[in-house]
Amino acid sequence: MSSFYILQTSFPTADKPQLCGLVYQRDFTEGLNKLSVNDYLVLAGTFHGVHAITTRLNPLHPPNEPPSGIEVLETEHFRLQCFQTLTGTKFLLFTEPFQLNTDKIVARIYELYADYVMKNPFYSLEMPIRSEGWERRLVREMRVLNSR
């Protein structure tokens, strides 16, 4: 079981606070429960808020190290791995609880994202990702993982 999300945060300006939008969502396993598009967007916004709160929770955090917020969330039925890039883009990967090396998987997806999404001149930021090259490589990558 795996399902994958990318949340992109907009750059905050004077007249617009930082917003968070879901730019990509894909399931890699058949038969997962689906939500409506709107629900995905709401959940993405909620997660962004929760994440922002968790970055401020730890009073003992060393001041020179930026707080990372939620990295892993585990429940009985799934495990959520969150990876945040320097610009605030978040990669969320939902897997089964016993899946190993989810941080490595997400790092690999980040690499693909940096190559096939960010280097594509036809992609504009904060827009949903519709890119054939990215899709092809991501599916190939995940197929290798799921077949293990």
């Binding site: 190559d115 280097k119 001149p121 036809f122 054939e132 090259g133 990215w134 092809r136």
Partner: protein, 226 residues
């Protein structure tokens, strides 16, 4: 920026403020020697970062995309961006050939072979994947160079509504520049052919169609007889 006058490095003792304003972001080596002072063969085997090229090329495509009227216009602009590179590369690569082979290509086949090997190796570190002559008897002036995976297109996914576009038009412009510079005026266009059966293996396969001007073919026939 590329002035012929030697650029003086900022003196260490001078207040840096004034200097910074005029040439922000441009760095000059402390010896005062720029890339133009180096021997032409020095960077022969050096390679560039593909990521930085990808960002540069992405910006070139975005730049070409501004104020265009259509896809043909956009390809034309990319072609024009590549053309002067081809003109210059012809000179540079001939200069770098070993002295005995340092002759200009004098017929179409020699020119195309120079393009698919020397030029392709210089640009992409590998030769082109195929070179064919058009099998159609009505177009004896057309040749096809195919590249299974053009380096410039590696990270580019063209949106569905622009599927006619192939950004390798830039490479086509380079090839056109080489042909024009060698005295074989031609029109070169890039076409995506990675569809259908072959598309499974090489989805980005591109064919560069080289169409020589009629006078080139005429001259070639005349030279062949004598």
């Amino acid at each position: 920026m590329a002035s012929s006058q030697p650029v003086k490095p900022p003196l260490a003792g001078q207040p840096a403020q004034a200097q910074r304003g005029s040439q922000a972001g441009l760095k000059y080596p402390s010896s005062g020697k720029t890339i133009y002072n180096r021997p032409l063969n020095r960077s022969r085997t050096q390679e560039l970062s593909q990521a930085s090229f990808a960002y540069l090329f992405g910006e070139m495509v975005s730049y070409a995309q501004k104020r265009v009227t259509g896809i043909q216009d956009l390809e034309k602009r990319l072609n024009v961006q590549g053309h002067p590179i081809g003109l210059k590369l012809l000179d540079l690569l001939l200069y770098r050939e070993p002295p005995r082979a340092q002759t200009r290509p004098l017929n179409i086949i020699a020119l195309l072979q120079f393009i698919t090997t020397a030029l392709w190796r210089h640009l992409f570190s590998r030769p082109a994947d195929a070179l064919e002559k058009s099998s159609n008897p009505e177009t004896p002036d057309e040749y096809m160079i195919s590249d299974n995976e053009p380096l410039v297109n590696q990270y580019i996914s063209v949106p569905k509504e622009m599927n006619q576009l192939n950004c390798a038009a830039f490479v086509a412009g380079i090839v056109e520049g080489v042909c024009d510079g060698a005295g074989f005026p031609a029109r070169v266009t890039a076409h995506s052919v990675g569809k259908g059966e072959e598309g499974e293996l090489w989805p980005g396969k591109t064919v560069f169609l080289v169409k020589f001007q009629p006078e080139v073919v005429e001259r070639e026939a005349y030279l062949g007889k004598s």
